[in-house]
Symmetry: C2
Subunit: 378 residues, 2 copies
Amino acid sequence: MRAALAHPCTHFPLEYPYLMTPLTNDLFLRACLRQPVERTPVWMMRQAGRYLPEYRATRAKAGDFLSLCKNPDLACEATLQPVDLVGVDAAILFSDILVIPEAMGMELTFLHGEGPKFPVPIRTTADVIALPVPDPMVELKYVMDAIALVRKNLAGRVPLIGFSGSPWTLATYMVEGGGSKSFSVIKKMLFDNPQALHQLLGKLADAVAAYLNAQIASGVQAVQIFDTWGGVLTTRDYSEFSLDYMQRIIDQLTREHEGRKVPVILYTKGGMGWLEQIAATGCDVVGLDWSIDIDQAKARIGNKVALQGNMDPAMLYATPDRIRAEVRDILTRFGSGDGHIFNLGHGITPDVPVDHARAFIQAVKEESPAFHQQGSLP
Amino acid sequence: MRAALAHPCTHFPLEYPYLMTPLTNDLFLRACLRQPVERTPVWMMRQAGRYLPEYRATRAKAGDFLSLCKNPDLACEATLQPVDLVGVDAAILFSDILVIPEAMGMELTFLHGEGPKFPVPIRTTADVIALPVPDPMVELKYVMDAIALVRKNLAGRVPLIGFSGSPWTLATYMVEGGGSKSFSVIKKMLFDNPQALHQLLGKLADAVAAYLNAQIASGVQAVQIFDTWGGVLTTRDYSEFSLDYMQRIIDQLTREHEGRKVPVILYTKGGMGWLEQIAATGCDVVGLDWSIDIDQAKARIGNKVALQGNMDPAMLYATPDRIRAEVRDILTRFGSGDGHIFNLGHGITPDVPVDHARAFIQAVKEESPAFHQQGSLP
């Protein structure tokens, strides 16, 4: 219905015929825009992941993790699995936030059990200047191909979410050379050479904006910016080195495509002290971690944006009954009204039993209609 | 002066003659009680640690980490090093939060580069029931001996802080079997068997209260409860599984000794959303991590408690000039008035240059007098 309007994106009429497919379940997109829904939509961050045996099989076919990201057929397969197997209301493209720096020419390795590594990290102003800005339709074409395949294979069942890491979060890996606990190298750069860091973040913001716009042109129907590490900063530094660059991305994004709005979701883990500033960026949805009660978040910013979240991911280790009680508790806290996308407060962890993930999705579907008026459909 | 009052602790007149020594620098204790000071006192969490070459030499003498904790002479040596070498305004007993579960009979190992491990973790109600409650004057006598030695050797130069982990934080290690990122085992217990966890936390709260009271009787002049992992909980679970048990400890503590108040400092990393609840426990000081601006924390709870913090520990990687600018910024945010103990927002990290730590302490000493009225001394 909504997606079946005359196609607005005239420069892709033949290459992207899948863009014409109407959505049979658009609960997620409506909730993002705080429009009425019959029940609360639900998906899970990292839902295409290791807790699914089918995902592990797909990954084994690809060989290593990065090869999986770069293989559109297998990335499509992984993207669809949670839709088919767990019943989520949105698909999220299977990929990794670090494909951007890799597309900028940085060597990226995922050694077994070690996490991502950049053997040659960015450390100096000269390093920053030397970094090329990628053309997402060239260096990240494999992502666009995966999006096309996913959209074709979804056939309108649920919307597809695209994503990127935030400039700050990407920069932490690029400067530290991998994951970090103390963030000592990038913070030293922030304190002693802020100009170089600003230059890097500016370059990344523009690269991310171009990348997300390419994803939107290729068919993602919403985008999420993951600021996994914004929460390690002080309030002042979060504003200057993370939020400002997410703002710069949002200002450049295509906000409408296929005749409907493309919602932007902004998620800063550990950023619950800064919700007002996050909501003021012009994003449509603010992602919540589990450290804040959703009623408090709603009281603070619920008149401006939709809220996504926020069950503690560790709740999925509990029994299905306990999970359902928690779902009911969060729904009750949010209360009646629209603008809630149910999700975890962070990604689902690899050792969660699949049955528990399914019980969670089912509980949201069964418990949430009571909190909604009759929907917008006749 | 204050500490030279007639000795109030009549049951230790001979064994503890060092308790008679007057304090020449009691800035820290006065600031904890929001009394006037001439300048802002400063110390650093984990100040007796690996960034000091002298500490590394002391540890090498001890062999392994746990042997260092259990050797009163060497623990005393480590405790005094930052006072002598860096010039802090308070000593904090060198020890580890995990000596309590070790005193409860749990085997504890610190393998090189691996962090602490409990090879036989607590998992069931039966495990919890079987845990003995230690007598701190027996099983933790080595701590009390270290306190006696430190007080003698400090000779009143600065006050001595004692400490413990919070029950929740101790329980995470005891149940997980070591450090954790997802806290999946203890959270599963919290969700599915809360009775067992409550029983464990109750036992720990009483053990910690007895331990801290023994430390106070032995001569520590303030105590800090470290709730390093309270911030991984939801608001509801933080209140029920962490804060309530810290309250239970505070309610049992000796609040006066040697003729003066013994301040209680409560520090929950990641707990900045819950400052009002933390301040309502009756603690004297709330420790702040660096995610909140100290002026905001002061506006929220500064009429009830003193504030300790809150420079980003990573700032110590920056140049001494940058460090000084940050110190000035935090002092300016706190503004005039008393009730501020300068500290880092979390522990000093092992690879910080000693010169930078010294520059930090010096900057607080030199920049802070401008923010205080003439002190209480004539």
